[in-house]
């Protein structure tokens, strides 16, 4: 008997306190800011969310170096880098809109959950006005969704999945990097002219959004060239030893192996494939070939001599000879002692593009910044003329097809540009089947 009375009282007490607790927030008014994290003082904070551990840690480290360089240039330090070659002259080297640029960093661990937690704390605790970064498309898409929800701009870093600006596109998210469809469109004709029309290919694919869209794009373009697919095998992102995936390739009857892997995954799978002697084999009377659709110098470095002669595509390469590239390579090289990777390049561009859009819009409000970025045409950032398409927030520019150098002249000179595929060859309509299904929605300023 007494027990039940106690329970009721306990419950009543808890309920009363809980009710008071729930009502308490109503006493206070919401913040007076017009949008999330409106900068009030003399500085503005950007959030750099990159993988510092996991299979993409190398790329994340290089991204962070480029971010720091970009902040230095925006604040008027260093030699100004690509600020001098950028076609828009809105930035004056006095920060953004006169406010000094500060930054906070976070580790995504190459995991969506951790990346979102890290981005959330940057927004809620450190007052970041913009989040950028995200190696791995899974992370980029997850973070992009979070930024849309929180009402800040997301400037995507190294993300190559079609979905980032396809079915998962968001009004607050923008991507400078190219995508799987563009890689496949550029590689298809090059591969068929290099290796012939009648080829059978086998694919190993990283098992997440990027791998899926990369594999689908490659399949479509290669089948268009008359090639036939033997098999597409999915490998978990955390895999480090690919021997068990390589062995079945030998007896599959395929004469080309396509590695839809990036970063540490690609380094390991390519090394495994070469160790199995795949490249010395002759199948169906043809030399066995390996293709890596998405290439980078960091991966080429990791895989060493194994990359010689292997074809792939890349967003940008430091050996290009335009003024923007030269300026960027010079200031990056002076500061860190080696040339930047494509990951470093794309995040540097994204930071500049964001800052420039704020200047041109005259505000940090995500909706204003988004409008300034939509349909923006620029040049001088190392890729030639580029368009930020309004319909899906994807940049359109030339795609480089590269090959591992047979005789590298230095430890950085690992890739040579085989062909620059012009932008109109890789452009697609926003409702292309590879990209349809999503909607940008409305821009969200939060607050």
């Amino acid at each position: 008997m007494s027990k039940s009375i106690l329970t009721r009282r306990g419950l009543l007490k808890t309920g009363a306190i809980a009710g008071a607790g729930l009502a308490m927030p109503l006493v206070f008014s919401k913040g007076a800011a017009a949008y999330t994290n409106e900068p009030k003082g003399g500085s503005v904070t950007l959030g750099f969310n990159v993988p510092q551990s996991g299979p993409y840690a190398d790329e994340g480290g290089d991204e962070l170096r480029a971010y720091k360089l970009a902040v230095e240039h925006l604040n008027g330090g260093g030699d100004g880098g690509m600020l001098n070659t950028f076609s828009s002259k809105a930035l004056k080297g006095n920060g953004i809109l006169g406010k000094k640029v500060q930054f906070v960093t976070g580790d995504t661990q190459t995991k969506s959950d951790a990346a979102r937690a890290s981005a959330k704390s940057m927004i809620e605790k450190d007052g970041a006005i913009m989040i950028t970064g995200g190696s791995s498309s899974g992370v980029a898409i997850a973070t992009q969704g979070l930024c849309q929800d929180a009402g800040v701009i997301f400037m995507a870093g190294l993300t190559h999945s079609n979905d980032t600006t396809g079915k998962d596109k968001k009004a607050n998210g923008f991507r400078h990097f190219f995508n799987a469809y563009m890689s496949a469109a550029a590689l298809g004709p090059v591969l068929s002219s290099a290796y012939g029309k009648d080829r059978k290919f086998y694919m190993l694919t990283a098992d997440y959004t990027w791998g899926w869209t990369q594999a689908a794009s490659m399949k479509a373009f290669l089948e268009h060239e008359g090639w036939t697919m033997v098999k597409d095998v999915r490998t978990p992102l955390a895999t480090t030893d690919f021997s068990s995936y390589i062995a079945p390739v030998l007896n599959s009857g395929a004469d080309v192996l396509i590695l839809n892997h990036y970063g540490g995954n690609m380094v390991n799978s390519l090394t495994n494939a070469v160790n199995f002697g795949l490249r010395d084999k002759t199948v169906n009377g043809k030399n066995f070939e390996i293709v890596v659709p998405l290439y980078s110098r960091l991966m080429a470095k990791g895989a060493g001599a194994n990359v010689k002669g292997i074809l792939g595509s890349t967003n940008w390469h430091w050996s290009l000879q335009d003024a923007g590239t030269k300026a960027f390579v010079k200031s990056f090289g002076t500061k860190y002692g080696f040339p930047p990777s494509q990951a470093a390049h794309t995040v540097y561009c994204q930071t500049l593009l964001y800052a420039d859009a704020c200047e041109r819009a005259g505000t940090f409000n995500p909706c204003g910044v988004g409008e300034a970025l939509q349909g923006f045409q620029f040049d001088g950032l190392g890729n030639g003329p580029v368009l930020y398409r309004a319909a899906d927030h994807q940049c359109f520019k030339d795609v480089l097809v590269v090959r591992g150098k047979e005789n590298p002249s230095s430890e950085f000179d690992l890739l040579e540009v085989v062909q620059k595929t012009p932008v109109d060859k890789v452009t697609y309509k926003p409702d292309n089947p590879f990209f349809k299904g999503g909607a940008l929605g409305q821009c969200n300023p939060g607050a």
Partner: protein, 412 residues
């Protein structure tokens, strides 16, 4: 009959007050000062501390009372998250149906796994649960991708049906709420109210208060279980299961019930995680998450009521605050030292903060296990004991009533 005594009421009251005032308590330093780095009173971290507190409270019902050590509770957390997100996609952005479904599905899942795993005890039980968790992780990661969206994680989209909410009209993604914004504003999980007091900024988040109230209820339920005959039976299982069996008692229904209850707590935590941030990733089911809750419980004090919550808060604080201290921050702290000394000091501390936060946590964990086997709770009891003896010597006041008394049955 066992009933809630005065000490339990005081404990309950303290928990309630601390949890409701946490946005103040964890924000002790003014904005803009060097120490503001250590402030933890922002919504995301507060939510995480409370949610993992619920997770650990549930885990403690199994591990603390029966001694069965499960490494597989991450699976229930993940199942809860996926269920909740599916509810947000299909039915409504209101969190209540999502959380209810999360509890139900994780309970059923726990029933299945528990029914099989509890045939063994000790290390074999641990291995079985670990195997199940790893299996669930791999299923979520690469097999059932149409339900889980694999590595990318399950997210809500504009095109989801959301039968009860109707179609989104203005092209913005709806956010999770406890009362629909069409009825009353300000009850979306992400709504935060700010209070400026001098240089201090306090943030009160609707989502946090929803989790806080649920934590208090969950804590109360766990208190009732601890003090019930059922709880006594679970302790008997821990003390000597063989003897219970000899006296003709079938212990399986009791352990299975404890397993299912703790699984439902984990599902509740998973559902809440999804309610705060509508995304469910497969890594939530990884064994490391299952290991983390074990650490939380042991660090705080297994078998104690408040211990798991303390442990959860401690670990989450470390994960989010210490991992943020990078070299730039360190240089800022030691800027008063001459250059050489400054670099030396930074190099000395560098391995223990930032990316190295787990190293610090590991050292603390070792120290706790070696010197305070009862966890942080034992530590605070020792401190309180010291204090009490001293005050008694000096003829201090009737302090006994104002301290949470040693909860009996601390883990042996």
């Amino acid at each position: 009959m066992m009933k809630i005594n005065l000490n339990d009421k005081i404990l309950m009251l303290i928990v309630t007050v601390v949890v409701l005032l946490a946005p103040f308590i964890l924000q002790p330093f003014a904005e803009g000062t060097a120490l503001a780095q250590f402030n933890a009173g922002y919504p995301d971290l507060l939510q995480r501390i409370v949610i993992f507190g619920i997770f650990a409270i549930g885990f403690n019902i199994l591990f603390g009372l029966t001694g069965y050590l499960s490494f597989g509770h991450a699976a229930f957390l993940g199942v809860g998250s996926y269920s909740a997100v599916w509810m947000f996609k299909l039915l409504s952005m209101n969190v209540i149906p999502g959380i209810l479904l999360a509890i139900v599905t994780s309970g059923l899942f726990a029933l299945l796994i528990g029914w099989i795993s509890l045939r063994r005890s000790g290390i074999y039980f641990s291995i079985l649960t670990l195997a199940f968790a790893q299996m669930s992780y791999n299923l979520a990661y690469s097999v059932l991708t149409q339900f889980t969206n694999g590595e990318t994680g399950l997210q809500i989209r504009l095109s989801d049906p959301r039968v009860l909410d109707g179609a989104a009209t203005n092209g913005t993604l709806p956010s999770t709420n406890i009362l629909p914004p069409s009825l009353v504003n300000g009850f979306e999980m992400r709504d935060t109210y700010q209070l400026h007091l001098g240089n201090w900024l306090f943030q009160f988040n609707t989502g946090y208060y929803v989790t806080a109230v649920i934590l208090i209820l969950a804590f109360y339920l766990s208190l009732r279980i601890f003090r019930s005959p059922f709880g006594l039976m679970l302790r008997a299982v821990k003390t000597n299961q063989t003897r219970l069996n000899y006296t003709g008692i079938n212990t399986r229904p009791y352990t299975l019930a404890a397993f299912v209850i703790s699984g439902m707590y984990a599902g509740l935590a998973g559902g809440l995680l999804a309610a705060m941030d509508p995304l469910a990733g497969a890594e939530r089911m990884q064994w490391t998450v299952g290991g983390e809750v074990v650490l939380m419980t042991i660090l705080g004090g297994a078998g104690t009521l408040i211990g798991p919550v303390l442990g959860a808060g401690f670990i989450k604080y470390f994960e989010n605050i210490f991992s943020k201290i990078n070299d730039t921050v360190l240089h800022h702290w030691f800027s008063f030292l001459p250059d050489g000394l400054q670099n030396f000091a930074v190099d000395l501390i560098h391995p223990f903060v930032g990316k190295g936060w787990q190293l610090t946590l590991g050292l603390i964990f070792m120290a706790v296990v070696i010197f305070l086997p009862g966890g942080l709770v034992e530590g605070s009891q020792k401190l309180a004991g010291l204090f009490r003896r001293r005050t008694k010597k000096t003829g201090g006041g009737p302090d006994e009533q104002h301290h949470p008394k040693t909860t009996p049955h601390v883990a042996e």
